[in-house]
């Protein structure tokens, strides 16, 4: 690339965009520094490089910026993040500046924040079970290393708390190095503090790096925070052999900023005003999860999506669900009934579950056990609806059993409260629920599995 070039004055400014005339060899994605008299330096990026006009997207507040007086420096480099093990234990802002009063990290290397797609032929298939201590997840929507599994929450539902629990408990089974990257995107001070407090209590603070862009920080930085964080996470995972769990909260704020920028650029809006490229943009974050064949570490992502109006078909959860490998869905109804954690098992899913469970990983009968619980719970839930219309009398005996099963399942298996459970406990509770039913209700448990269970107990 080029050396730095400085220009005096932009010809126009709209929202976060500056139009700089007659730049020399501007490059797409080039990092820009904007200085104005008496104001702190702002950062920006070239989004449209041209001979006549180059468009710079400013990544800080543009309030009070006079385009004619600005000094605009094209740095000759693209955005890079400081990465390294030294970041662990630190709290940084959305673009990597310290928030904890300590000096800026020097790091081990600089890496482009935009990253590069993993060559699909070099991906290793994720297959290592991560025990979260949450029965509904470990049992029925199992998380594996290298997966991207979002939590679909709703306003007022404990999405972030569940993420915090997973972070607190998720340990590596054989004591391999483990780290957490937490990205706060547009979340409140209270949420941030709560997350931090829990992390400190669990003694995990020193293996955690935090990138915080809070609600009061510039919105535009929200597009960068997850990328700075993922650049750091990728380095720890793929170059330092650490198993990294990245939590991004909340993707809704991220997408809203994306929409805001799209509007400022006069782009054609897609569904509900979100840009048509939102799928691709989200993929550039989510797809960074994975495992590289022949390298030690892994990058697992748990994005939090607070579904507007609890609507799973809203573009943000919808596009997220199309990219991620399943989802954990929280239910307002369960929450109101005091089932904690309020995980709705029916729409929750882990697409990578099958490769992470079974003999040698969890328990041999895991798949059939989960299928049977799921099928009975689904039938029980359906029966509750029917019963609301036809009354008790219209139900068959098997329907009634399924309904009662569903009640117990929610209370005893899902609603575990805040005490973590080992997987073995979860499996045992599930079996006890199943064994309360006659064998004929358990068609998904084959003879061999049934006999093996009987012999063990």
């Amino acid at each position: 690339m080029n050396l730095a070039r400085a220009y005096h004055g932009a010809s126009a400014a709209t929202g976060p965009l500056l139009y700089v005339p007659r730049t020399h060899r501007a490059a797409a994605g080039e990092w820009v520094v904007i200085r104005a008299p008496g104001q702190p330096a702002r950062r920006g990026q070239v989004i449209d490089a041209g001979e006549e006009i180059t468009v710079v997207q400013v990544l800080d507040q543009t309030l009070g910026l006079a385009p004619a007086k600005a000094e605009i420096t094209l740095t000759g480099d693209i955005a890079r993040a400081v990465v390294g093990r030294e970041l662990l234990g630190r709290a940084l802002d959305g673009v990597g500046r310290p928030l904890d009063g300590l000096p800026a990290p020097v790091g081990e290397a600089l890496r482009p924040v935009w990253g590069a797609p993993m060559n699909p032929t070099r991906r290793a298939r994720p297959a290592d079970f991560i025990e979260t201590g949450i029965s509904a997840i470990d049992g029925l929507a199992t998380l594996v290393r290298g997966q991207k599994l979002p939590v679909f929450s709703g306003p007022g539902l404990p999405g972030l708390e569940i993420a915090a629990e997973i972070v607190e408990r998720a340990r590596t089974p054989r004591g391999e190095p483990f780290a957490v990257v937490f990205v706060g995107v547009g979340i409140t001070e209270r949420e941030t503090r709560e997350f931090l407090r829990r992390l400190e209590q669990s003694g995990g603070a020193e293996r955690t790096v935090m990138f915080l862009n809070q609600a009061r920080d510039p919105a535009i930085e929200r597009l960068l925070a997850p990328r700075f964080a993922l650049a750091a996470a990728e380095f720890l995972a793929f170059e330092r052999g650490i198993h990294v769990l990245a939590v991004i909260a909340d993707m809704v704020h991220y997408c809203e900023t994306l929409r805001e920028i799209g509007a400022a650029r006069d782009e054609m809006p897609g569904r509900r005003g979100y840009p048509g490229y939102m799928y691709t943009d989200l993929a550039s974050l989510y797809e960074r999860a994975g495992i590289v064949a022949g390298r030690e570490g892994s990058l697992t992502e748990i994005p939090i999506v607070t579904m507007p109006e609890d609507d799973i078909t809203h573009p943000i959860p919808d596009l997220t669900g199309y990219i991620t490998e399943g989802q954990v869905v929280l239910s307002r109804e369960l929450h109101q009934r005091g089932i904690d954690p309020p995980i709705d098992v029916l729409p929750s899913l882990s697409r990578l579950m099958n490769s992470g469970i079974g003999e040698g990983r969890t328990v041999r009968e895991h798949r059939k056990w989960a299928d049977q619980l799921y099928a009975l719970y689904a039938r029980g839930q359906e029966t509750k609806l029917v019963a609301a219309i036809v009354g008790e009398a219209g139900l068959s005996a098997a329907d009634k059993r399924a309904r009662d099963f569903a009640e117990r399942f929610e209370r005893e298996l899902v609603g575990q409260g805040r005490t973590p459970r080992r997987l073995r406990e979860t499996i045992e509770i599930g079996w006890r629920l199943l064994e309360a039913l006659p064998r004929e209700d358990l068609l998904r448990i084959d003879e061999a599995t049934w006999r093996a269970r009987k012999e063990r107990t």
């Binding site: 060899r25 490059a27 797409a28 032929t121 490229y277 596009l319």
Partner: protein
């Protein structure tokens, strides 16, 4: 004068002067030589759609036109390869660049170091024309790959030599000096010509009961496969890649998940083709452009996959193309259209969307291909769609439905019940059922069409009754209606649902499909007769029959006979046990 970049915005680049170039010429952009394609020419300025990440590309960098359109390299050695959207083999790209994809990689599709034993089948002096076979190589053990005269080439063979050659080596020369190599190139956006299109009357056997039995697609047909997230599109595509009856499978991963590709790559080599006994990867070609790889190449990936499929069709093979997902392909069109400032149509998609989707589906077909010796081939196309919010009324799904002969609609309600494949029998349809009926009769039994009709009407009646039951409860139904519910439940839960994770159930041969369907229908027919003769509903051996059929579903092939015998005995007993009761009553 060297052309130079004058503007870079996202994946579009403007360069000048490019007056000499043609639309769709392939260009190398910038110092790193990023691959791109000219999509607009205005005076001196060419607008280039770049297939690779443009970050860091600067105004003033050089641009070089190759003078040819984006082409596929077609020849022996394609089987088993994994290509990016523009035809670079990803494994060799990784060898050059490492674990992450960087722009500007130079890697030709066919491995330059691989050699094939070529055996000429024509003599000097022979007159040849496009599509004629000039010799054979063994591409994979047991897979003979004819070497074709490229379409539009003809002449008299001046020289031809058998021996060991690489894909780009000359094996024959024509009298006008044209050289024939093992591989040739073909522009990806241009369908390869055929001699004559044929009607498809042989089914594309998927090994999935609900598809083969209720919604069959003919070889050479096309299918739209829409489904919201979590409805199991990808699992169906993967099942087809593994178990569908095809000589060659082209899998196009377009804008989808990287870990899924890792899954395919882990599974295919380990599975054996039930017909040939060889690893399934040996019949597969993967074109992969994951969601985080450059958008422009998504568009090209579908065209590349189809071109490769047409080439194998021209060799006389039955090819299946599985594209996951066409919605991401259409979104790439939308994104590029928006950047080009085109006037948008419905939901921002280009106004040409429906035409372009039509052209993709129309590349499927069964044909007598060009050249001698005479041979036939087929391309069957299955396009998965990812409608936003699972709503099929959106433009991409609608455009696909207009051109596809078959619809396999995936239903979130079925998926939530873990009924897989979650193909909704109420909304799916097939225009190929009649044309393919004869084949099924010949390969299963005479009553296949009748079973199919009866099953469809049983499912319709079941849907009506379940609505009623939701209001009045099951106890209020007549016994014959309760029998319908039970028979339909067997059809739904045992015949139509299938476990792709159960090694004995993942692929259902048509005979097994027929057996299970026939049992369900026999149960309904004979159950009805038994009820009429006075047997009490509660005495029908429903539980035991279900258990037997569930066991049949996951039984190895050699255990099927015994279980079927038992199931049949149960069904027959329903007729018999009623007799003494009746006599006693008299």
């Amino acid at each position: 004068m060297t052309a130079r970049v004058v503007r870079v915005t996202g994946s579009l680049v403007e360069a000048r002067p490019m007056r000499e170039s043609a639309l769709f010429d392939l260009v190398r952009v910038g110092a790193r030589g990023l691959l791109g394609e000219i999509v607009r020419l205005q005076g001196e300025v060419a607008t280039i759609q770049v297939y690779e990440e443009t970050a860091g590309l600067a105004v003033g960098e050089p641009v070089r036109s190759t003078g040819a359109a984006l082409e596929a390299e077609l020849g022996p050695g394609l089987l088993g390869s994994i290509l990016d959207g523009v035809g670079r083999p990803l494994a060799r790209v990784a060898d050059q660049e490492g674990d992450f994809v960087l722009p500007g990689a130079e890697a030709v599709t066919l491995d330059p170091d691989r050699r094939f034993a070529f055996e000429a089948t024509v003599q000097p002096g022979a007159r040849v024309t496009g599509g004629d076979v000039v010799g054979l190589v063994e591409e994979r053990p047991g897979f003979l790959h004819p070497i074709l005269v490229p379409p539009r080439v003809s002449g008299i063979v001046a020289e031809v030599s058998s021996g060991s050659f690489g894909a780009r080596d000359v094996v024959a020369a024509l009298d006008d000096g044209q050289a024939l190599t093992l591989a040739h190139r073909w522009p990806v956006r241009e369908p390869r010509p055929v001699a004559e299109w044929l009607r498809g009357d042989r089914p594309f056997v998927t090994g999935q009961r609900v598809l083969d039995f209720l919604f069959p697609v003919a070889e050479g047909g096309s299918v739209a496969l829409p489904g919201g997230f979590g409805t199991g599109k990808t699992v169906i595509e993967h099942s087809l890649a593994k178990w569908a009856d095809a000589d060659v499978v082209v899998f196009i991963g377009c804008g989808e998940r990287g870990n899924e590709i890792a899954d395919v790559l882990a599974e295919l080599p380990a599975l054996l083709d039930p017909r040939t006994g060889r690893s399934l990867i040996e019949r597969a070609i993967l074109v992969v452009n994951t969601s985080n790889m450059p958008v422009a190449a998504r568009e090209a990936s579908v065209q590349l996959g189809l071109t490769i499929a047409e080439y194998y069709r021209d060799l006389g093979q039955r090819v299946a193309v599985l594209a996951d997902s066409l919605s991401r392909w259409a979104e790439a069109l939308r994104e590029l259209g928006a950047r080009l400032g085109e006037m948008p149509g419905e939901e921002g998609y280009p106004t040409t969307l429906s035409d372009r989707i039509g052209k993709v589906f129309e590349r499927a077909g069964r044909a007598r291909v060009r050249g001698a010796p005479e041979r036939q081939g087929a391309v069957t196309f299955i396009g998965a769609l990812s409608p936003p919010g699972g709503d099929f009324s959106e433009p991409v799904t609608q455009a696909a439905l207009r051109v596809a002969g078959t619809l396999w609609a995936l239903d979130p309600a079925l998926a939530r019940q873990r009924h897989f494949p979650a193909v909704d029998w109420a909304t799916s349809h097939s225009l190929h059922a009649e044309a393919t009926a004869q084949w099924f009769v010949e390969n299963t039994a005479e009553d296949w069409p009748e079973l199919r009709r009866e099953t469809s009407s049983l499912l319709r009646r079941d849907a009506e009754l379940r609505e009623v039951t939701a209001l009045v409860g099951v106890e209020a139904l007549q016994e014959s209606d309760r029998l319908v519910l039970e028979a339909a439940r067997i059809v739904r839960e045992i015949v139509l649902s299938q476990s792709s994770f159960d090694p004995n159930d993942a692929r259902s041969p048509v005979m097994k499909t027929h057996r299970l369907a026939a049992l369900a229908i026999a149960f309904h027919r004979q159950g009805l007769a038994a009820l009429e003769r006075g047997t009490a509903f509660a005495r029908l051996p429903i539980g035991e029959l279900r258990q037997t059929m569930v066991r049949m579903r996951s039984a190895p092939d050699d255990a099927l006979d015994e279980l079927a015998l038992h199931a049949n005995a149960l069904i027959d007993s329903m007729g018999r046990e009623a007799e003494p009761e009746k006599e006693a009553a008299q």
